[in-house]
């Protein structure tokens, strides 16, 4: 079989018809599944925080907390919202790079930075909120359980977020190691590329 046969087969592949109107819909950020999910999360978290702030004076003993404790809470909630906005921005930014490997490397750096941002922002927010909730409760069995539930929920949420970014980062590194051409041969049993360590760094 000649190259020309392969190219003919390739050129003759049938593709589904898609109109410009459909494509126009596809490029709308509101129709992007990932961005839509982040927007939903942002709306849910902001609504929850607002509801909490509105109601906590009557439902909890937080009205008696001092200014700095309230500041901890507001800062904690704000960090969650800012983090959501940063994630939205991450997915809404264009890709950069003049070759496939350079694009992957650039993307890997962005994912790594986002993992660090997630750790710092959500970690700090979690810490601040746990401090806030545990600051002036009169501890009895019920409040200790409530605190445990709140702390576990916040820590699990942090762990889940962090795991998502770390998995993405590891996935990109795997692709880079697989792709990098400097010495990468095509066989599956070839090792990682020269010039890269096991973390995909040059």
């Amino acid at each position: 079989m000649e190259d020309a046969d392969l190219i003919k087969m390739w050129n003759d592949i049938e593709v589904p018809a898609i109109s410009q109107a459909e494509m126009r819909d596809m490029i709308r950020p509101r129709n992007q599944p990932v961005l839509r999910r982040i927007r939903k999360q942002l709306i849910w978290e902001t609504s929850f925080f607002l509801l909490f702030i509105i109601s906590y004076y009557t439902w909890f003993d937080n009205g008696s907390k001092g200014f700095y404790m309230n500041l901890l809470m507001v800062t904690g909630f704000s960090l969650y919202v800012i983090h959501d906005l940063l994630v939205y921005r991450f997915f809404n930014r264009p890709q950069k790079g003049f070759s496939i490997p350079s694009m992957l490397r650039h993307y890997r750096n962005r994912v790594r930075n986002m993992a660090a941002i997630t750790f710092v922002f959500r970690g700090t927010a979690t810490f601040l909120l746990i401090c806030f909730f545990s600051s002036s409760w009169k501890f009895d069995a019920a409040t200790i359980w409530a605190l445990r539930v709140i702390a576990t929920t916040l820590v699990m949420q942090l762990a889940f977020n962090l795991r998502t970014w770390l998995r993405r980062w590891k996935h990109v590194i795997k692709i880079i190691v697989d792709y990098l051409p400097v010495n990468a041969l095509m066989d599956d049993d070839d090792g990682p590329s020269q010039g890269l360590d096991k973390f995909g760094r040059r």
Binding site: L6, M9, I13, M23, P33, P94, Q95, P101, H171
Partner: protein, 156 residues
Amino acid sequence: MTETEFLTLIDQHKRIIHKLCTSYRFSPEERRDLFQDILFELYKSRDSFEGRSNISTWIHRIAFNTAADTFKKKKEIVRLFDIQELPADEDEWTERRNDLLEAMRYLTDKEKSIFMLYMEQLSYEEIAEVTEMTVSHTGVVLHRIKTKIRNILNKK
């Protein structure tokens, strides 16, 4: 580049994106999702396209990164198939076209991207630039990929 200019440009080259999606994803739903993801990524990156460069390479760069980043839901089981003779009529050509796509499922993502660039009739120099390989290495790699594809197609 305005939205209308972008859509006009993509409309002329959407076959490449469709073929990329077909190569990287197996189910129609996954292909459509990937098509949308790639289109959105291209739209966001439209200012990085310079009219002087080859649009195929620009689309491939962004499409590969998008396809590789999104996790595949599950690996489909591919069936081995056999072809003994060269196609004689149109029906057989249709079958061969599908066979080519099926054969490509045995390639790694990297091999697919290089093979597709070659199928789009880019020069070795252009492929080398997009993949950061040397021109001579590109030739070696392409030879291996084509041999692999031919072996699969000839297994029947």
